[in-house]
Symmetry: C2
Subunit: 440 residues, 2 copies
């Protein structure tokens, strides 16, 4: 098994490049004050002082096209979100043990986007906490502990969730109750991805049971971001969802990455697959930067947990975070953000795909809405992954003012994930810079 | 063993009291939209629409003296924090993978308040995440998994942390690797609390080892909030800290409750005890409402975890949360908030203590700074706890416009924990209302 450590993709490694004195000093301070666990992106780290729309500005006033940060899904410093936070923070910021309108409005809004049996919303401060809570609920609901994930999954960083997040690297052990299945990558493993994925999940269930472990949940990022953004052949989840339910477990759709309209066609990634999750977890773009995350679930799934264990999370559901999230939801609808993600996303996919005729290193290209992935390969026939070139491409683009990153087991897949307000003009600039970088 | 379920203290129970139509509708919406896990405070829930300083205002314009909410430690909607958030949210909100000044400034400020060997700050979104991260670090550092806590401890709600938070109730099982020790309550168990606490921790270590479990950490809220606010005889932690270290474990001071100057005499509760923790976890008042928490630790404690596992938490350390926390730290210093906590806290303690001569139900009274506890008893001699009367007192005060709550194994200890800007005039009002409620 290869060592998987996504935390080192595109990371700054001290001593490799020369830094400006000001940045060198900040890097030194970071190492001293934040310690060894933190990493900066890019071979030459960036120091941003301002953001606006799709642009980030560094301390020298240079602007960068942000084609990476999915948290600020409506763009940096979106005026409606800024206004909602500004107004609420000056008015009231309390917790869920008092009545407050905004959390109810937010719940109504979010629950109206999913199938009707998902009737409850619960809030957390981070996607990690959301997946952690989903696991606690799954254990109480099913009486089991077993978890099934894909081989390069990432679901978060709490102690429990890190045990089912293999991308944290081999230094973070998977739980004894965790089984991984191959990523459902149609473009690599050929047709019948649905059958294969179902069979793999069934085998994982059987293996858990053989070890005396009752399955609690199958959890997948419904666009398989860290597995390489597997947007193709939607529909392949059905058999696996049936299998986990038949085994007494539940299905959790982790929508931290594909959710809130990124795929253009649907508000949530699982809807592309035509499945009804037992729990949907939400995160990153939910407050356009404000720390808020949560989950949607059915009454019967959370009933026992809710009645016996209760749930209170001091900051989660505070009036300011809820105001930010309610503003995000309003803007997504009012400004037809999903339409933009679909239209501009299709254009982005077309333009990136067209670069294949000019660059042999560009392997398979795929995407859904404004989430596009492109493999960098040393040989198109064998699809041999080229990690070193990927790193060069990502850093060359950074040097030319465009931000992206990489993902996948071999760190060779360009992760193209701009704010959902990206324009065709932004795509043109992006493609020009990518074109140049691919020639490096 | 008694069933401990702090989540039910002062909780609203549907059907017990009649509500106004508007609130009844909101309660119905909450039940429908948020599900069975959420609970409202007080027999008659409150619906706040505005906060300012020590005051919360309900929808009818009635004001309540907030003697409970420790998150807004500088008072509701503190102008400096509001301004810091307002400015930053309109400028930039990114993550720790880019360089940014404010996180460095915050780290410098926080680390300057502790002993010099605590040299690194790491950030999370909640106190739960902070304690969860402390546990992950402790496991890597020590090679152990065992956790020692006090019998009515609360450290948070992630899957791992809930396993060492007995106040979540008996429906949430403690981990097989967790041992509890009696709360170090000098006023109940007599003198020699230090010796007894040390002996109990040593016995817990021995029991863990007897079960083949290597101790990872002793973690205590250094003012033992949920054990009943045990502020007396500071210094009793020393022997226990030596014991856990001798056994190969580390000592974690959970400062989510006593931290940021609440005790008046010290910035952190552990400093009252003259001990040097290996990890200090921070939370609630850190951003005066903005979701930010974290930990301070030594380099050698986090070195292996940092180098091998890395740490990235999307929202934690974002520029807005850091701006809020930096503003909190600035105000604590500039406005001599700790001096106020000490002076007004002493006055509060004196005034509440004096009520003992008028009310036989008022048992032991104790406190440190603006954190005061008062037992409600049915018999002072035997110190028999009176949970029913405690509930009446808390709800009578709420009806008369003053907010407090209760804690302790028997839910009979008044938890008096106002914002640190509380004035003597606020104390006078508080004591008048308490005086009346104790007569109910």
């Amino acid at each position: 098994m290869s060592v998987v450590d996504l935390s080192s993709v595109n990371a700054f490694i001290p001593g490799q490049v020369e830094l400006d004195p000001h940045e060198a000093r900040m890097v030194e301070q970071r190492t001293r004050l934040l310690g060894p666990a933190y990493r900066l992106m890019y071979q030459k780290p960036l120091h941003f002082v301002r953001g606006e729309g799709v642009w980030l500005y560094d301390a020298d006033g240079r602007r960068y096209l942000d084609t990476y940060n999915n948290v600020v899904s409506l763009g940096h410093c979106h005026p409606d979100v800024v206004e909602a936070i500004t107004r609420q923070v000056a008015t009231l910021c309390t917790n869920t043990r008092y009545l407050h309108e905004t959390i109810l409005k937010l719940a109504e809004g979010l629950l109206s986007t999913v199938q009707s049996d998902l009737s409850h919303m619960m809030l957390t401060c981070s996607g990690s906490e959301a997946n952690d809570l989903a696991y606690r609920i799954a254990k109480v609901r099913t009486g089991g502990t077993g978890v099934i994930i894909t081989e390069t999954a990432y679901h978060g960083i709490t102690d429990a969730v890190s045990q089912f997040s293999p991308t944290l690297g081999t230094a973070v052990p998977l739980g004894a109750h965790v089984r991984t299945v191959a990523a459902p990558a149609a473009y690599r493993s050929g047709p019948n991805v649905a059958e294969r994925f179902t069979r793999d999940v069934e085998a994982a269930i059987a293996d858990l049971k053989r070890h005396g472990i009752q399955p609690a949940m199958l959890i997948v990022d419904s666009i398989f971001t860290s597995d390489g953004i597997l947007s193709e052949e939607p529909g392949f989840l059905k058999g696996a969802v049936e299998a986990i339910r038949k085994a007494g477990g539940i299905f959790v759709a982790d929508e931290v990455q594909p959710g809130f309209g990124r795929t253009g066609s649907h508000m949530w990634g699982f809807q592309r697959h035509g499945v009804d999750p037992d729990i949907v977890t939400l995160g990153k773009p939910m407050g356009n930067g404000q720390p808020i995350a949560g989950l949607l679930t059915r009454h019967d799934v959370v009933e026992k947990f809710g009645n016996n264990s209760r749930y209170f999370n001091t900051f989660a559901g505070n009036a300011v975070s809820c105001a930010a999230a309610a503003a995000v939801l309003k803007v997504i609808r009012r400004d037809r953000i999903m339409d933009n993600a679909r239209d501009v996303g299709a254009y982005l996919l077309e333009r990136v795909s067209a670069l294949r005729s000019r660059h042999d290193c560009l392997g398979h290209v795929r995407g859904a809405g404004l989430f596009v992935a492109a493999d960098i390969v040393s040989d198109r026939e064998t699809q041999a992954n080229d990690r070193a070139r990927t790193t060069r491409v990502v850093n060359a683009m950074r040097d030319n003012g465009v931000l992206i990153s990489a993902c996948g087991k071999d760190h060779n897949i360009l992760k193209i994930r701009p704010p959902l307000i990206f324009s065709r003009e932004n795509v043109d600039l992006f493609v020009d810079v990518l074109d140049e970088a691919l020639a490096v």
